[in-house]
Amino acid sequence: MSRPEDTLPPDLFYNDTESRKYTTSSRIRSIQSSMTHRALELLALTSPSMILDVGCGSGLSGEILSQTPGDGTPGGPHVWIGFDISASMLGVALEKDVEGDLLLADAGQGVPFRPGTFDAAVSISAVQWLCQAESSEEWDTPAARLSRFFNGLYASLRRGGRAVCQFYPKNDTQKKMVSQAAIKAGFGAGLLEDDEGTKNAKTYLVLTVGGGELDGDITGVVRGMDGVDVEDVRRRARGVKRGEEKKGSRGWILQKKEQMERQGKVVKATSKYTGRKRRIQF
């Protein structure tokens, strides 16, 4: 199956025709809706919150955020602000009279809100678009975009806040590139895979901001959930006691590598996508 982000930049791909087609397809509506509900389950909100929807498109998720717990939205109705790079998508959202506010903005340029604005953020099927390398501009590399996005997202969330980004990674390298960028921005991160290995596989990057009253540990977010296969990008390293491995051994190197990865440093496996100067820090 071809990936739309391999064909055109998002603002051109989601033109008027495609945006309308996307929004009226009952298949797409039902998939996006179930992923939004999954994301809400992971956010575990208990009262009406201020939510950011990144790459909100025509507001399919937003409509769900505006609903009450009785309609299946935990903690709702929430107040949300969505932004998207496609004016056509936002146009469709306007026609539908969604309740949230809409902005035309590029997640790869940052998140233009003051610190601590949001209780939570969702992003459904959008983040993979940041990984495209179509631009020749120096400021517009995937690494630079991901870094601006996650740094901005981190700052715009309140302490103890959470974000869930469902995205379609092209491969493991891309999955890693995205999670490492989030971790580097300061998030606690976990990857959750639904229907792993099938063609319906769904990847959720679950992000927590430390501090505040919420459980900032990602393993707490998914603890006790059914059918969840958690791949905590920090867990393996945490399981090993510091200094347990003999210096220089394979185990020691792997442990070091994982420590570095946890701190968001670029290690070998991911370096070929980054073409930028590396700063090694021990």
């Binding site: 919150s49 790079i85 035309l104 590029d106 233009p112 604005t117």
Partner: protein, 155 residues
Amino acid sequence: MKLLTLNFLTCAIKTCKTNPASFPLHPRNAELEIQEADINLPFLKNILPRLMWEEIRTIARELGLPDLPSTPPTPTDLSISTSSTAPSNPDTSLDTDEPSEAPAGEETPSQTALDLHRLLLETCIQEGILVCGSCGHEYAVKEGVANFLLPGHLV
């Protein structure tokens, strides 16, 4: 765009973010519209401590809206609490058919809450521009949607 949103948006230009004058953005030539919405008292209580009240007053003044009080409302100002009668009346909760459906403290919004709701969630900027007080960059608002896309050299 709701005035609530304007109380959280900053200039998108990186070099501006550290300058306090990049918040709030100042509306110019703004056309306002009231878009009615259901009041959400728990949300108002949640967001209240996060509001920058002085900046809301500034924006209201710039938009030609009536003067706002110099101090923000407190959470207790927002509801006419019926829960205050509940503790003195413990029998009523036992009498209800579905006690789990009606947690104590079903609250009625006060006039202050209704006013705050009208100001922040129903008063919308439909057309105009938002100007950064630090760099002067202008963000256009059309049909209530603000354009925050930056030209490459400003990213």
